[in-house]
Symmetry: C2
Subunit: 270 residues, 2 copies
């Protein structure tokens, strides 16, 4: 295999196996090339990944060492992504009765959601994460996108128990904004004891749902290493039950009469 | 930029923009290279993608032409992926009371779910698809994985209306296996009239849920171009309401007393 061919194959390999530590002998064997050639290939890819702002190849020395792709995007790119989302969100046709904002299309869009996943993965890149946890329904594509970038499983908390989940742990919690008692359910076997988790959700008002997820994680003896929400509502900020979170977008004001939405960048950019 | 650098950048570009038609002048401009060099780069990448069995770069001639990445995986690879899933599924510790099989971990696994997404994308590669549609909850990561490969949005049907969806269309349908009346709800603005959709779900018993999704799509004047289910239950086959679907896995028998699960490849491999 020529260098040019190896570069295509190895670029594909690294992009598809984020955070996986692969030994040099693995590549030597796979592509039938000398160790020195593989090292040069890795340097070229590492350089380009950095130039493109998509992360880097990190070399770990020693017998158990190797090379791994650490996805990362620059602050500039994150800003561009989020500003683009904001311009989409400020479209007045998104205003729903009651001052809500329609976001489902953005949460299903293949490019936006992948980019948001990359921003969150970068935001939490220094945390060791075993699972990305979310609650049904709208946060799931987002959680999946984050999990894809960091290469860990997604765990989905449900609102209702289901027979196909086996034995479950459930908690009741008080929703922050509506003050209603709600339930969360998670299959007992879905998370190993002592795991590190990243909580991801699409929207946070008073933070009751996030607080509920934290409590549920406590029942699993899991360590919440981070909380990421795509959008937060600014007006609920004072009574917020959760403080240690990252938001990408802050919905400042939705005016149903004037038909205007005011959106700003979230606390990740502070 | 050197050829070696362009190859890394272009491989990343194509993998991230499946089915997007990009003109040669776009690459000439982006990478500041001669058209002939870009053409050679494209040949190298096309060749390697084919060798790796991940699809091909298709060149479209003419003024509005260009090149696009068509993801595809070979039958051999699809077989390997599904056989690996089957060996996981046959683990007796997955048997739940009532003869159900625990699958949530596989549906959240970053590699499995991406691979299953690739198999479905290949299965339906000749259909023009505008949206991948699924119903909450467990099918969502799967639908998202398929949508990522073919580069279209995911649309999520809900069981319950939510204020953040705006005005919705809902249908009632009879669940095939439990004979209970159930509801499906979808935001009116989520699908454009006359769109082509691919329905994806994780599990099919008698097919009532899939039938419900088909009816709901009918309300949106959408054309169902394909139906893909990860697993189907063999014992319900006779009364099945849906016939025109692809399944990757067939759960033949779950024996709670003997603690055995028998799983085979689905009709995609017939």
């Amino acid at each position: 295999m020529k260098r040019s061919e190896r570069l295509v194959a190895m670029t594909h390999y690294f992009l598809n196996n984020p955070k996986t530590l692969s030994s040099l002998p693995y590549f030597v064997e796979e592509y039938q090339a000398a160790k020195s050639s593989i090292s040069e290939d890795i340097d070229i890819i590492d350089n380009m990944f950095r130039q493109m702002g998509i992360g880097e190849l990190k070399t770990v020395a020693g017998a158990a060492g190797g090379v791994q792709y650490i996805p990362d995007i620059s602050n500039d790119q994150a800003t561009t992504i989020v500003e683009h989302l904001i311009s989409q969100l400020e479209d007045p046709s998104r205003i729903l009765p009651g001052g809500y904002v329609y976001m489902s299309d953005l949460l299903g869009h293949p490019t936006y959601i992948r980019e948001i996943g990359q921003v969150f993965a970068s935001a939490f890149e220094h945390s060791e994460i075993d699972y990305v946890v979310t609650v049904a329904t709208k946060g799931i594509p987002l959680a999946y996108a984050v999990a894809q970038v960091i290469g860990v499983p997604v765990v989905i908390i449900r609102r209702d128990p289901k027979v196909t989940e086996g034995s479950t742990v459930s908690i009741n919690y008080v929703s922050g904004s509506s003050r209603k008692i709600q339930t969360m359910v998670l299959a007992k076997r879905s998370i190993e004891e002592g795991s590190n988790v990243l909580i991801v959700d699409d929207f946070m008002k008073a933070g009751g749902t996030i607080q509920g997820m934290k409590s549920l994680m406590h029942e699993f003896n899991a360590n919440v290493k981070g909380i990421g929400v795509l959008a937060e509502a600014e007006d609920e900020e004072e009574d917020r039950k959760v403080q240690d979170y990252i938001s990408l977008i802050r919905v400042m004001e939705v005016d149903e009469i004037q038909q205007t939405i005011k959106v700003e960048k979230g606390n990740y950019f502070n």
